[in-house]
């Protein structure tokens, strides 16, 4: 009898804990990360081979160069249910194609401000430079954006589905 009662209280405690964890972690954001083939993707790879832990919320899409990334791709991601977007490329001066990231930077300058004018939260779309040697920075960036977007909550407004 005593054992049964103990087990019951244990079960109740465990259930309460589970419920608490479920509500606390109810929102796991979907974050799409567009990484350039030459720097940031290699940086992510380095983070992996160095056995570093980072938030599992990002879905990596490899692109040849950030200069290839049309903003419509970012908008499409929101439309298809992304809660946040990370775009990452080579540091200025390091582009494999010499000028891709410079061109991309200009576009982001306009696009980023445009998104704010429309009223999108500033942290929803984030941009970074991560080189192939910066596995640690990649981990930091991913953790930061995941935290930011968890705070913001899901992006329902522009979801077309």
């Amino acid at each position: 009898m005593k054992q049964n009662a103990e087990r019951k209280t244990q079960d109740a405690e465990r259930n309460a804990q589970d419920a608490g964890r479920r509500t606390q972690d109810a929102f796991e954001p979907k974050i799409v990360a567009f990484l350039c083939n030459w720097c940031s993707y290699a940086g992510a790879d380095l983070a992996g081979t160095s056995r570093k832990q980072y938030a599992p919320n990002i879905r990596i899409i490899k692109v040849p160069c950030t200069g290839r990334l049309d903003p419509i791709v970012l908008i499409k991601s929101f439309e298809m249910g992304a809660d946040g977007i990370l775009v990452s490329g080579c540091h200025p001066g390091d582009c494999h194609y010499r000028s891709g990231n410079y061109l991309a930077r200009r576009r982001w300058m306009i696009f980023n401000e445009m998104l704010q004018f429309i009223g999108l939260e500033q942290d929803r779309v984030q941009f970074s430079w991560v080189s192939a040697a910066e596995g640690g920075k990649f981990v930091d960036v991913v953790n930061k954006i995941t935290e930011d977007i968890k705070k913001l909550g899901p992006a329902k407004e522009y979801n077309a589905s």
Partner: protein, 275 residues
């Protein structure tokens, strides 16, 4: 002034300097002027020029019918308002037309035009232009006011506006710089922009339209005029113009020799948001 214009166009057509002139003729009612192609000297009598001559004519220079006329011989003449000339500058800059193929007959005040016209018929500031100038100033004030709002309010405002969109693409059809043969909105594999007028798709379309005109919009205001549901498209366009001016010190439609700001770069472009 109209007589002078007709006279001049007759001369140009008789002397074979141009073989077609794009101008305006009287529309179906007195408050309507519609674009017309004049190819014979005696047809010049059909021309009108008044405060109802609003539609942008630079758009027509890219039509296949007009292009084929140009192939025969001679230039294409165009009766141009300041916005038309700015649009032509944009088209020359982007290699859509060759400067030598067009003969620009500017109508208006000298100081309003970029210096690429072939001849000018000077008129005082028209009522329409004066009205447009006050509207511009108002809109800039409106933007400054709007920028003070919180993201939630901004989002609510644009969502309300974009929800009106019926995806008729009139803004694209009228825009002198939207010249793609196959627009991204018409592509269906992959389908970048959903054809249904729902909130997600409307957001995509309006954002992409504005973005594709970043650094190219020549501020003619035709998209907003054409919009059947009155979305304040120029508010977005003007905001982007401001950004371009501020960041890259560039204004579209002034000099065909300068490359557009988003197809070039400086190594020391300043930004603060990239981590």
């Amino acid at each position: 002034m109209l007589d002078k214009l007709k006279q001049r166009i007759k001369e140009l057509l008789t002397n074979k300097i141009v073989n077609c002139v794009i101008g305006y003729e009287q529309g179906d009612n007195p408050t309507l002027a519609r674009p017309v192609y004049i190819t014979k000297p005696n047809e010049a009598e059909r021309l009108v020029y008044n405060e109802y001559c609003i539609p942008i004519l630079a758009k027509y220079i890219l039509k296949p019918e007009v292009r084929s006329l140009k192939l025969e011989a001679g230039k294409i003449g165009i009766i141009a308002k300041p916005s038309d000339v700015r649009a032509l500058v944009g088209l020359i800059q982007e290699k859509q037309i060759i400067r030598e193929d067009v003969y620009i007959i500017a109508v208006g005040r000298k100081e309003d035009f970029p210096k690429i016209y072939d001849e000018i018929i000077e008129t005082p500031l028209s009522e329409l232009d004066a009205k447009r100038k006050t509207q511009d100033a108002e809109q800039l004030k409106q933007i400054a006011e709007f920028e003070k709002k919180t993201p939630e309010e901004k989002r609510a405002f644009w969502q309300r506006e974009f929800d009106k969109c019926i995806k008729c693409y009139a803004c694209r059809q009228i825009c002198p710089l939207c010249y793609c043969r196959v627009c991204i909105a018409d592509k269906n594999q992959p389908q970048w922009i959903p054809p249904m007028p729902n909130s997600g798709g409307n957001f995509s379309w309006n954002m992409i339209r504005a973005y594709h005109l970043a650094g190219r919009c020549i501020d003619c205001g035709e998209c907003e005029r054409a919009c059947p549901v009155d979305i304040p498209l120029m508010m977005l366009n003007k905001k982007i113009q401001q950004m371009i001016k501020e960041k890259f010190d560039y204004q579209a439609g002034l000099d065909p020799e300068v490359p557009p700001p988003l197809s070039t770069y400086q190594e020391d472009d300043k930004e603060k948001f990239i981590i």
